[in-house]
Every structure is written in structure tokens, then in C-alpha cells.
């Protein structure tokens, strides 16, 4: 291995670090600090749920993050796109149903695009997985987030049964 050449390990880690940095740039540009007391729950739930899904995905051999230490990638992934997109998704929840549907689609497509880039560049590999499966999972997750977020962020109340 020559000294000037980036090792595979370093390159793979760089890919995740790049996604981490982009996530935080977007976050700092668009975050509404005054609403963080509520929107932070979107980030916390996203980190918990996303980490659980990826842990299961690894355990079941569906996909894997190549040649990297699991902990480092988990920190870069959970602390990057999961946390920031979770907060921003809660912040951007709209009471307008059509706009919220478009929001779900925009977040889903962005997530899928980054995932596609990571797989194309060797940051992750599909073993028994497909882009369409990710598309389905992303749509379901963001739709569920819309529902939960309406209660937390918009303070929607359920109908009470008498």
C-alpha cells in the first residue's frame, strides 16, 4: 500500500463522514432553534428506530456497511442523517395534507438518493435487499412520523371516547 493512497477503510469512512457533514450543513441552515424543544423528539425517535432497523438488517444479513467498524459508522449515520432529518421532518410537518404528502415524498427520495450513492460508491452493500425495499420502508417510516409528529409538534389531540 503506497503512502499517498487512501486505504479502503479510510475511503469508506470518508463516505459516511461526507454524508454526516452535508446533513449538519442542511440542519444549521434550516433549523428553527425556537422549536427544538419539540422537534428534537423527531431526531430522537429517528435515531432509535433507524438504529434498530439497521441492526436488524445486519443481523439478518440483508445488507451491510462494508469494511468499517460498526460503532464508527453507527455514530456517523445516527448522529448525521438520522438525527438531523428526524428533527427537520418534525419541524416541517404541515397541517396541509397535500403538502405533507409531498414532504413525505421529498424526504423519502432524498434518503433513497443518498443510500443509492452510498451503495454505488461501496459504502454499503446489499446482500438480500433492494432499492424498492428501502423505498417502501422509507415511505412507511415517514408516514408514521407524520402521524406521531402531529401529536407532538402540532399538539393534535385524539378523539376522546365517552
Amino acid at each position: 500500500m503506497s503512502e499517498n493512497k487512501i486505504t479502503i477503510w479510510e475511503e469508506m469512512t470518508i463516505l459516511w463522514a461526507i454524508v454526516f457533514i452535508y446533513s449538519w450543513i442542511i440542519f444549521f441552515i434550516f433549523v428553527d432553534k425556537d422549536r427544538l424543544n419539540k422537534t428534537i423528539y423527531g431526531g430522537i425517535i429517528a435515531v432509535a428506530l433507524g438504529s434498530l432497523v439497521d441492526w436488524a438488517g445486519h443481523k439478518m444479513g440483508l445488507y451491510l456497511f462494508d469494511t468499517q467498524p460498526w460503532l464508527l459508522v453507527s455514530i456517523l449515520y445516527a448522529g448525521g442523517p438520522l438525527l438531523t432529518a428526524g428533527v427537520l421532518f418534525f419541524q416541517y410537518i404541515s397541517p396541509n395534507r397535500k403538502l405533507q404528502a409531498a414532504n413525505i415524498l421529498a424526504f423519502t427520495l432524498s434518503y433513497l438518493a443518498v443510500e443509492t450513492l452510498l451503495v454505488s460508491s461501496g459504502g454499503a452493500s446489499y446482500l438480500h435487499w433492494n432499492y424498492l425495499a428501502s423505498l417502501g420502508v422509507d415511505l412507511i417510516v415517514f408516514t408514521a412520523f407524520s402521524y406521531i409528529g402531529e401529536y407532538i409538534v402540532l399538539e393534535k389531540r385524539g378523539h376522546t371516547l365517552r
Binding site: 487512501i6 475511503e11 470518508i14 463516505l15 461526507i18 454524508v19 452535508y22 450543513i25 442542511i26 441552515i29 434550516f30 427537520l88 416541517y92 404541515s94 396541509n96 403538502l99 414532504n103 421529498a106 432524498s110 438518493a113 443518498v114 450513492l117 454505488s120 460508491s121 461501496g122
Partner: protein
């Protein structure tokens, strides 16, 4: 063939810009900025 690092950075940048434009549009539509 594996995508190069610079192409990865550039394409991720495009995704970030597109996502940012969407959030800006939502802000405008909701009358926030």
C-alpha cells in the same frame, strides 16, 4: 465499477441542494420566510 470519491461528493451535494430547495419552497408556501 465503484463511483469515485469526487463524484460521490458532487452528487451528494446535488441531493443536498435539491433537498434545501424543497425546504425553502415549503417555508415560502407556509409563509415562514
Amino acid at each position: 465499477m465503484k463511483m469515485s470519491l469526487w463524484l460521490f461528493i458532487a452528487l451528494n451535494g446535488l441531493v443536498a441542494v435539491a433537498f434545501g430547495l424543497w425546504l425553502t419552497l415549503v417555508d415560502r408556501l407556509e409563509g415562514r420566510r
